[in-house]
């Protein structure tokens, strides 16, 4: 019998129905933060966290955004989280949630996607979870429901981020952590014990948000239906006048 290849659920939103089971005594909830190890820190992570790096070919096609985007996509850390539901210590529900910037197989859908749909289920992580750094936070049912609500809202209204993928991954996860009211998650770089690269991503994420806000402001205030003013270029005018004079002499 041939081994069945894992199915990568590109651009699919996670099914959150597992999270609708009513609370019962003995049920516990976890927010399991995961991060791919940055190649720069691979050795440290192998030693201290028993982590290994991601396979080079993640078996799905990254979006073509030029060399810089590809650099980030291939060399930086994907950050995502698992929502876990347990009963008497045994897992009864589990979903991986993260930000995706995948291509959609349908070109028509791809046009609509721009870049980024949250909710990519990281099947690849399922097949070998050992290479990821992780930190598990215990949640109350209320916190758990808040994260589920956050994910569902983002599925309904996906953000269209344009920035390097890893930054989006961090930002999406950070916002989910904020929804869960995790300790220190409100502070930039405050997600405790994350690798230093993540701190840098968070700083970059802040910068990206600034740019994003500026772009939104521009889109709200200005329209391409109107031409922007064409100021007089004094040098051009001087040249035109000189040309006219030369023509009139000729």
């Amino acid at each position: 019998m041939t081994e069945q290849k894992p199915v990568y659920s590109v651009t699919e939103h996670p099914d959150m129905s597992f999270a609708k089971v009513p609370h019962e005594d003995g049920m516990t909830y976890e927010f399991d933060l995961r991060q791919e190890v940055n190649p720069y820190l691979e050795k440290i992570f192998e030693k201290h966290h028993k982590a290994k790096s991601l396979p080079k070919d993640p078996s799905y096609v990254p979006p073509k955004r030029g060399a810089i985007f590809d650099y980030f996509f291939n060399h930086s850390g994907h950050v995502f989280f698992n929502l876990v539901m347990k009963k008497d210590g045994k897992e009864i529900g589990h979903r991986q949630v993260g930000f995706s910037a995948d291509k959609h197989p349908d070109p028509e859908q791809q046009k609509k996607l721009k870049i980024g749909v949250p909710g990519y289920v990281f099947d690849q992580e399922k097949s070998d979870p050992s290479y990821h750094f992780n930190k598990t936070f215990q949640l109350s049912r209320k916190q758990f429901d808040n994260v589920v609500k956050f994910v569902e809202e983002n599925i309904q209204n996906p953000p269209t981020y344009h920035w390097p993928c890893a930054v989006n991954c961090v930002r999406f996860t950070m916002r989910a952590a904020q929804a869960a009211e995790l300790p220190n998650a409100k502070l930039m770089g405050g997600l405790v014990d994350l690798p230093t690269t993540t701190q840098a991503y968070l700083a970059l994420s802040k910068l990206s948000e600034k740019l994003e806000k500026a772009a939104k402001k521009i889109a709200k205030t200005f329209s391409n239906d109107r031409k922007a003013p064409m100021p007089e270029n004094k040098q051009d005018l001087t040249r035109q006048i000189a040309n006219k004079k030369a023509q009139s002499r000729g």
Binding site: R65, G66, I68, F69, Y71, F72, H162, W163, P164, V167, A200, A203, L204, L207, S208, L211, A214, A215, K217, I218, A219, T221, F222, S223, N224, D225, R226, K227, A228, P229, M230, P231, N233
Partner: protein, 110 residues
Amino acid sequence: MNRPQDNRFYHYAACFLRDEFPEKTKAWDDAKLKSEIDKGLLAAHRSGFSGEADAMGFIDLDWRFDGALSANTPDDSIQAVLDSDESADVKLDCLRDLYCAREWGKMKND
């Protein structure tokens, strides 16, 4: 004489730039700010960003890149984006990515 829509553009452009770049603009009076907007507009038109939103996006990024977009000879990465066949809004997205990537480079070197 300015068209009414031009006056509107200059007004909102000035508000936007004062809001986004308070340090840079605080010592400038309105005339100086307008002349800077004009410089940006000329460069924007020259690079094919002629709609109001596209031109404003261009000026915004030009300021963030310290004038690298409006320079007579932008560096190769910026020039490649400006010369590409993409639409103006995609070019602006690419320039934003490029800006983030450069800042990222600076952070790594700090």
